[in-house]
């Protein structure tokens, strides 16, 4: 799948934002006044910036409000509701903290649940797709949740919890890479099932339907970067999980350290999210000669 920068930035930033908002909503840190303004501001800033960037991958962003209508069937619509809901529900909690006060715990709890639903909804947009076997697995929501929780814990200064979450994130990342590699074959789709031809599997692409690129080849039959996939996986695990873990373990949990740890973690998160898209293969590629060792056209 095409690793569109707008979608990568959106999912990473809003995930981190929702993670931080959830930690703040649950009262993980006691901050009031200007400190609360800064911390809640970072949470809202990341989330809103991510949601804003997400509009860039729409063909008609001016109609984006219509995405709120189909929450009964569409995960994308549920994501819109949960995101807007979390931001609205947490506004009084944030405001109270900035004013130096505090609302009863229920307010924050409801908001934190909305943050959780928002992150899971984002993940389910990908996990629901049978057409992309690598994503169509429980590791996808686990991965998105692990990233949101880790980012949120680091940003809210929860050094111990963050260190544990870093380890968990590393585990989920490695598991998602390993299990993901076998998913396409396990889904059982081949050029034979796609075309009904060559029951013994002796079918190959002879002539592509078109010699230039089209929407499908650009969006779903993206093969760029798979050559470096292994190296990038190691980079993702080291930066998103291992280095932040070590940093949290040995360095004192002061602001500059936490900021540096988050920067390193964020870099790893971007690499991991880029791989999440770049490594995912869509079954429509079968029609274009992908995954059969034949002379498939390489679209870059």
């Amino acid at each position: 799948m095409h690793p569109a920068p707008s979608v990568i930035v959106f999912t990473v930033l809003s995930g981190a934002g929702f993670g931080l908002l959830a930690f703040l909503a649950l009262g993980a840190v006691e901050v009031y006044g200007p400190a609360a303004f800064l911390l809640w501001g970072v949470g809202y800033g990341l989330t809103v910036a991510g949601l804003f960037v997400s509009a860039f991958h729409l063909g008609n962003p001016s109609r984006a409000l219509r995405a709120f209508t189909q929450w009964r069937t569409s995960w994308l619509s549920r994501e819109a509701w949960a995101s807007a809901g979390a931001l609205l529900l947490l506004a009084p909690v944030a405001l109270a903290a900035v004013m130096g006060g505090r609302l009863p715990g229920h307010f924050g709890l409801v908001g934190a649940v909305a943050c959780l639903i928002a992150v899971v909804s984002t993940a389910m947009i990908y996990a629901q797709l049978k057409t992309v076997p690598r994503w169509n697995h429980w590791t996808t929501p686990a991965l998105f949740l692990a990233f949101a929780a880790t980012s949120g814990a680091i940003l809210s200064g929860q050094a111990r919890i963050a260190a544990l979450l870093c380890l968990a994130l590393g585990g989920v990342l490695i598991l998602a890479f390993r299990l993901g590699d076998g998913r396409f074959a396990a889904a059982g789709q081949t050029l034979t099932t796609a075309t009904g031809l060559g029951q013994d599997g002796r079918v190959r692409q002879f002539a592509p339907a078109h010699t230039g690129p089209n929407y499908l080849t650009r969006e779903m039959i993206h093969v760029v970067g798979r050559r470096h996939a292994m190296r990038l996986r190691v980079v993702a695990v080291i930066f998103a999980s291992l280095l932040p873990f070590l940093g949290l373990l040995v360095l004192p949990p002061v602001l500059p350290v936490m900021a540096a740890v988050f920067a390193v973690h964020l870099l790893g998160a971007f690499v991991a999210r880029w791989l999440f898209f770049a490594e995912a293969e869509h079954v429509v590629g079968l029609y274009y000669g992908q995954r059969q060792g034949g002379p498939g056209v390489r679209w870059v």
């Binding site: 109609r63 209508t69 189909q70 099932t193 796609a194 013994d200 002796r202 089209n214």
Partner: protein
């Protein structure tokens, strides 16, 4: 609403005969021609006369080579377009309700005025039936020529999808696959019509007819001549050359 309607009794769709398709691309051209005018945003082209032409199409014809255990390989031309699935995954993922399946005849359509161009429906389709038009920013897909098949301003013979009307070999058939007695349903039953990627659980309405079994390939007509012993002058020359 992007919830799927209960299965309709009428299931309009296409039956594509892979035995007769010659891969002339006339259906591709006719589809593009018809959908450049009338229904919805026109199918645009980018850099049409430049070095990297690219465009939006609702129908594409691939070519595959099938090699049997014995005998020569066979080329099969394979048109690919929307299959108007009964369990259309492209409909339920839509966040705006723009993507829908008609309750009355099962045609899957896009309400382009409500489409935000997020592309999720195209991701959900296993068959690559949907292409986002970069000019209009909305999702385009086969409409089964909904503006032809019910159009009483057209002569009756033209009230079929443009691809079906134009196919010079009669490889494309249009009809009601929900009616077991219809011509298309009988054709599917007789020829063993099948679904594409049945494992995806989409229950396509469109069916494909397999290429008919060909007999053993006849001996090449010139092959007996290869071993004809040369006689006369040619024979003498042949023997002479052997000795040198």
């Amino acid at each position: 609403m992007t919830a799927l309607p209960p299965p309709s009794a009428k299931k309009l769709g296409l039956v594509i005969d892979l035995d007769t398709c010659v891969g002339c691309q006339a259906c591709v051209t006719a589809c593009k021609g018809w959908n450049d005018q009338g229904y919805g945003a026109p199918l645009s082209d980018q850099d049409a006369y430049g070095s990297e032409p690219c465009g939006t199409f609702l129908n594409r014809v691939h070519g595959y080579e099938v090699s049997p255990e014995a005998g020569p390989a066979e080329i099969v031309n394979f048109p690919r377009s929307c299959l108007h699935c009964e369990d259309a995954p492209c409909v339920t993922v839509c966040p705006t309700g723009a993507s829908y399946k008609r309750a009355e005849d099962g045609i899957v359509l896009v309400n382009e005025d409500a489409c935000i161009g997020c592309g999720l429906c195209a991701w959900a389709c296993p068959y690559g039936a949907r292409e986002l038009d970069p000019s209009a920013g909305v999702m385009k897909k086969c409409t089964l020529c909904v503006d032809r098949i019910y159009n009483e301003n057209l002569p009756e013979v033209d009230r079929v999808p443009a691809c079906v009307r134009t196919c010079p070999t009669g490889a494309r058939h249009f009809g009601d696959l929900g009616d077991p007695g219809s011509a298309v349903s009988r054709l599917v039953a007789e020829r063993g019509g099948y679904d594409l990627m049945p494992g995806m659980g989409t229950k396509p309405v469109n069916k494909y007819l397999p290429p008919r079994k060909k007999g053993a390939a006849p001996e090449a007509p010139l092959s007996p001549l290869i071993d004809t012993p040369a006689t006369g002058f040619a024979g003498w020359l042949d023997r002479l050359l052997e000795k040198i």
